[in-house]
């Protein structure tokens, strides 16, 4: 069961708290089953019910057996029943009733009387039966011995008598009865034991109440309560046993505190602990005993208590709690030593603390399970650190620190301390803490080794559990140890780590302190470069005393002289960029984010730097890196650019999340059925996100392109400094300002890349050429002036000594001339020499252009020497006049109307119009008037009668209309002197050729609407007759020709009844053909006659040999051209009256022409 019990019983001085059972009756019978019984008892759990409402617990119980002895029975009301015989069993083997009556009965009677006399209710009578084969076959006896006993001794408590088959014999059926016996004993034993325990508890409580009475002794009480703890431990209730020990612990602590505060009534016993310390034997976990002679010292008592607590914890598998309780325990011990003013030889307490912590650590390591590493590392880390501190203090005391030699006094101290530790040899492969400490104190090397080992373990464990800061602090101690050892490089490594952590958390004081220590390390190591770096940091640290800063500043300047190559140091706290500004330059037109700078001009940056150096320092030069924008604009946008040419300190510094405006948005959650489920506000820009640690390493970018201060050295004073940097913008493109670098001797201080990125754009303006017309549109046939302007861009054009010539070439029909003043020759190409070649200069040249009349679109190609591509300019010329003609016919006479529309912006004066039509004679309708003014958009018409001879065929006639025109009105333009020279231009002739064909009149039509016979008037809604007569012109008669006529009546005015179209054939006769159609007027009033349209009708079989088959199937219609048909009744109207009303006028239908 509980192996601890055996351990305990074997260990000297450990009390056996098993209940004692006495045996009476046939003792020899019992002796043969004693062993089996004592083994069987603790094998199964038994439920233990307790008083005071405490929960029932399942416990294992075991027992010690002794022979019955009346004298040993406890007295009535004795409290320490635990140590007395508790339970009494009478054993008998008697099966014979008669024998029972004679002897056994009396024995039992005596035994029981004695027990009752002592008021002991816990007894049991066991009758062991021995079965033999014979008896089994017999009938059961009427009364057995058991029955007899039961009736005589235990009438009320039947469970006090039990029979059992002799378990000595290995028979299966015996097992049941045996089990019954064991269970009975277990139950009864526990009942009595429980009673005993509660008695003990009562007594303990009673004793505790008396603790302030004089004469009360803690140690006595301690033993009492420990007995209770041991009882609980025996029963396997380790947690409750731990509670007892914890109570003792707390009670003792309270006494010490009270004793210190003078509230020491009744604690005279405390002075016993105030003896000076003579032994500091190592704390030992596991079985141990409280020394009794001499009385235990404070440390011994504490150690004993702790080891008991640890024992209970280990039994309940709480290894990590052993570790977690250790440090408070050690602190409490050392504090109590102080409070009680216990004198101890120097180092003795440290020895003890060291040994204790190491013992705990070793024990934990032994019991550690893989799944508890995390939980227990949390507590062991500080223990390792504590142990290393203690060892170091011991080393200090004994002169074992590196660089020191122990004096004889110190050697004596070591011997004395070692003696006080006592001896506790461990195994060679796992030395005990005492061995380790003794070994460490023996020599410096072993001390160093042990110390570094412990510290390393502490650091590793701290790092493992994520307590980086604590690990760094141990690292600092190790570093100081290494400094003593002279291994400054190692020390520097630890210090650098610590520094990084301090900087990460922005603990400036600590960082500065570490920086000073680091500087010393580097100085000792002779690492000038790092030394300079550290010196610079110290010199700029405002947390440090000014005197120290000055001295390190001087150190830095001196050491700088010893550098052999450039040393790069980040700005960090040394310099701070307050603002950066691009001076000058125009804000970009294209994007608002960049400053525009023209190529080849100066870019100037004004940099305001705050120096934290304690004094002025001479800088060789300052540079700012310039990075060309290689990436596309979108990514640059993301990085956040400033929309101005300035970044101030506010921008350079990291944005404080606390000061950011929260972007709170409405957030609605809908259920599935679109009902609102919840409404809330959401902050999208998560301002609580931790900013990246600002100690990201500063990369030294390539200072390929940069702006600088030039060669002259300048001085940076503490506080604000304005530094002007400039450079020539050579390349075109967008540039970002990158890092700032300031050179001091060979030290190069560099900043982080400036964010947000400040950018400027270097631009180049290309030369440009323009060909501009005047205000008005270009007109053909008139000489006009255009201007060619050539602007040189932002750079001068390479000419190789020659002059720049711009070549213009015009398309055919357009001629150009460069000479405006003298009126030179027009040509198709023109070369213009540009004299002015300075950047941004513009040369303007006027050229004359002249387009030929019928042409409209022209092109001028400009060829520039600086561009391989030629530049085409499309010019559109409009004619100054627009002329149209129309043919009019009266019977066979022909008239031509010519309309002239002015298209020129300015007035034109026209005159001398004439028309010539082949050899026909032309008679103008108008008298020959002089010049006329034709403003823009106005028209003038001229009408001529053409005297044509009637012919069978109408020969196409070539006609040409001529007109003379001139720019400007005849008279009133003279006032406008600023008008162009066109006003005095000579008259030009405009000729308009056209052709007349199919002009001969072939047919005449007459149409007439008459009411039906008997009616006087045409009435609305009554059918009338439409007489259409078509007659062929005499001279143009074609025999056998057919015509198609169609009546095209306005459907809202006329309804044509019956047919609307038909074919008329002209046979040999040239008489007029008349067709009568029925039409019905729909409105009253004077209605225009329905229109009659004639077309040539080509029958289906006409010319069947010449045409394709498809065309043969259908007859075709061919329209006549204007002038071939003369409609004599065009424009006539007929008067229609309403149906029933009287006509408004009684007159005959009037024909209006």
């Amino acid at each position: 069961m509980n192996g601890a019990n055996e351990e305990e019983s074997s260990a000297p001085g450990i009390q056996d708290r098993r209940p004692i059972i006495t045996c009476a009756g046939e003792v020899e019978l019992f002796s043969c089953i004693e062993d089996r019984l004592s083994v069987a008892l603790p094998q199964e759990v038994c439920e233990w019910r307790r008083s005071l409402g405490r929960p029932a617990r399942s416990v294992h119980i075991s027992a010690t057996f002794t022979p019955y002895n009346q004298a040993a029975l406890p007295r009535i009301n004795q409290w320490d029943l635990i140590r007395q015989p508790l339970f009494h069993i009478f054993w008998t083997e008697c099966n014979d009733v008669d024998q029972y009556k004679t002897t056994i009965r009396d024995e039992i009677e005596v035994w029981l009387k004695e027990l009752i006399a002592k008021d002991i209710p816990d007894w049991l009578i066991v009758v062991v039966e021995n079965f033999d084969g014979k008896r089994a076959n017999k009938l059961l006896p009427r009364t057995t011995v058991l029955d007899k006993i039961r009736t005589e001794f235990a009438t009320k408590q039947g469970d006090r008598c039990i029979s059992v088959l002799n378990p000595g014999r290995e028979e299966s059926r015996n097992a049941d009865s045996w089990r019954g016996l064991v269970a009975r004993i277990r139950h009864l034993l526990l009942t009595s034991y429980g009673r005993a325990v509660s008695k003990l508890e009562d007594y303990v409580r009673q004793q505790r109440e008396r603790r302030n009475e004089p004469g009360w002794n803690f140690m006595g009480y301690f033993k009492l309560q420990e007995e209770l703890a041991q009882v609980l431990e025996m029963l396997g209730l380790y947690d409750e046993a731990l509670v007892q020990y914890d109570e003792l612990d707390a009670l003792f602590s309270q006494f010490v505190v009270n004793g210190q505060s003078g509230d020491a009534t009744g604690s005279g016993w405390l002075s016993e602990f105030q003896r000076s310390l003579e032994r500091w034997h190592a704390l030992k976990l596991g079985p141990c005993a409280l020394p009794t002679e001499p009385a235990p010292s404070l440390l011994e008592l504490r150690a004993y208590l702790y080891s008991k607590q640890a024992h209970m914890l280990l039994l309940t598998n709480k290894v990590w709690e052993v570790a977690s309780r250790c440090l408070p325990f050690l602190h409490a011990c050392s504090r109590e030593l102080l409070l009680l003013e216990i004198s101890a030889p120097p180092g003795a307490v440290a020895c003890w603390l060291f040994l204790a912590s190491l013992e705990v650590l070793h024990t934990c390591n032994r019991h550690n399970q893989a799944d508890q590493v995390e939980a227990y590392s949390l507590h062991t880390a500080c223990l390792w650190a504590y142990a290393s501190q203690k060892l170091r203090s011991l080393g200090d005391l004994c002169g074992l620190m590196p660089g020191r030699t122990p004096t004889s006094d110190q050697l004596h101290a070591v011997v004395y301390l070692s003696a006080g530790m006592g001896d506790c040899p461990g195994k060679p492969e796992s030395p005990s803490p005492t061995d380790i400490l003794k070994q460490a104190l023996r020599s410096q090397t072993s001390f160093n080794k042990t110390y570094l080992e412990l510290a390393e373990l502490a650091m590793c464990t701290y790092k493992h559990i994520g307590r980086l800061r604590s690990a760094r602090l141990v690292g600092r101690e190790v570093a100081s140890f290494y400094v003593l050892l002279g291994e400054v490089q190692k020390a520097a490594a630890f210090l650098t780590d610590a520094l990084r952590t301090f900087e990460q958390d922005n603990w400036r004081d600590l960082a500065a302190q570490s920086q000073v220590e680091l500087a010393e390390c580097y100085r000792k190591a002779g690492d000038t470069r790092k030394y300079v770096r550290a010196c610079a940091a110290i010199a700029a640290a405002s947390e440090i005393d000014n005197l120290i800063r000055w001295s390190y500043f001087d150190e830095m300047q001196n050491s700088l002289l010893g550098l052999d190559r450039t040393l790069i140091v980040p700005f960090k706290n040394i310099l701070r960029i307050e603002s950066v500004r691009i001076v000058g330059g125009a804000a970009s037109k294209s994007s608002a984010t960049a400053i525009e700078v023209m190529q080849d001009s100066q870019v100037e940056i004004e940099l305001i730097v705050e120096s934290n150096f304690p004094r002025e320092i001479v800088c060789a030069k300052a540079m700012i890196a310039v990075e060309a924008d290689a990436k596309d604009a979108a990514t640059a946008q993301k990085r956040g650019r400033r929309s101005s040419s300035v970044i101030t300190g506010k921008d350079v510094r990291q944005q404080d999340a606390l000061l950011q405006r929260l972007r709170i948005q409405r957030h609605l959650d809908y259920k599935e059925n679109k009902q609102l489920s919840s409404a809330s506000v959401v902050c999208r820009n998560a301002p609580l996100k931790r900013a990246d640690s600002n100690v990201s390493p500063v990369y030294h970018s390539e200072f390929n392109d940069f702006l600088d201060t030039g060669k002259t050295p300048f001085v940076i004073t503490p506080g604000m400094n304005v530094v002007r940097l400039s450079g020539r913008a050579e390349r075109v493109g967008k540039f970002y300002l990158g890092q700032v670098a300031i050179h001091i001797n060979l030290m190069e201080l560099i900043s982080v890349s400036l964010t947000p990125r400040l950018c400027y754009e270097v631009l180049r303006e290309e030369p440009s050429v323009r060909l501009d017309k005047g205000e008005a549109a270009l007109l053909s046939d008139i000489e006009q002036i255009m201007t060619l302007s050539v602007t040189i861009g932002s750079y001068a054009i390479e000419t190789k000594g020659e002059k720049i010539k711009v070549l213009l070439k015009s398309s055919s029909g357009l001629s150009i001339c460069g000479d405006v003043v003298n009126g030179g020759e027009f040509g198709n190409s023109l070369e213009i020499t540009i004299e002015e070649t300075r950047p941004y200069s513009t040369t303007v040249a006027s050229i004359r252009v002249l387009a030929e009349v019928p042409s409209k679109d022209h092109q001028v190609t400009i060829i520039c020497p600086w561009s391989s591509k030629s530049l085409p300019v499309t010019l559109s010329f409009a004619p100054p006049l627009k002329i149209s003609w129309r043919l009019h016919t009266v019977k066979h006479r022909k008239y031509v109307q010519i309309t002239v529309v002015g298209q020129c912006d300015r007035d034109l004066s026209i005159g001398d119009s004439s028309l010539t039509v082949s050899d026909n004679k032309v008679v103008p309708f108008h008298s020959s008037v002089g010049a006329q003014v034709l403003p823009n958009g106005m028209s003038v018409s001229f009408t001529y009668e053409i005297l044509v001879r009637a012919q069978k065929e109408s020969i196409p006639l070539k006609a040409e209309f001529r007109l003379r025109y001139a720019m400007g009105g005849s008279g009133h333009d003279d006032d406008d002197d600023d008008d162009e020279k066109g006003s005095v231009e000579e008259c030009r002739e405009y000729s308009y050729p056209f052709e007349l064909s199919n002009y001969q009149t072939l047919y005449h039509i007459r149409a007439k609407v008459e009411p039906t016979k008997g009616s006087e008037f045409c009435r609305v809604g009554t059918v009338c007759h439409l007489h259409v007569s078509v007659s062929a012109a005499a001279h143009s008669f074609h025999g056998g020709s057919s015509l198609m006529y169609e009546v095209l009546a306005e459907p809202s005015v006329w309804a044509v009844c019956g047919r609307t179209a038909g074919v008329i054939s002209f046979e040999s006769d040239s008489d007029a053909e008349t067709v009568v159609l029925d039409v019905m007027p729909l409105n009253s009033g004077f209605l225009p006659l329905p229109l009659v349209r004639l077309s040539k009708y080509i029958p289906a079989d006409f010319g069947n040999t010449d045409y394709g088959k498809n065309e043969l199937l259908h007859p075709r219609l061919e329209p006549f051209s204007a002038g071939q048909i003369y409609n004599g009744s065009k424009g006539e109207q007929v008067h229609v009256i309403n149906t029933n009303s009287e006509p408004f006028s009684t007159g005959a239908p009037t024909l209006l022409t």
Partner: protein
Amino acid sequence: MAICVAIIGKDNSPKYFACSNPDDEINLQYKVLSSLDVIEEKLNTANKVTDFRELFLGTLYSLESHKIYGYVTNTKIKFIIVVDSTNTALRDNEIRSMFRKIHSIYADNICNPFHIPGEPITSKSFHDKATSIMFGTV
């Protein structure tokens, strides 16, 4: 009386540091800094379980000479009080009330429109109040 009062910002940088013995300040700073490990640990592990209203973290860790107590506001501002470990007069309840007082004067101080959040506290009146809390004279 406590021997040190410190206010640590959200980013773990010190915002205010006062101690009874200025010569000891650097050493105390090291101790306070390392206690941040424990605070972080407690915040990370206990966040889900513990009551949010309980800002007092109890003893962060104890040294032979000192005991360090912690308190974290909802905005992760840490208050730390260091007490001499021989001082038995200050129990958890007293420490708790000291923290509450510090919290209240801290809240008053950052309500000042001239105080920039996240900057170290330099206000003299704050310092006076904080030291009087530290010395237990309030």
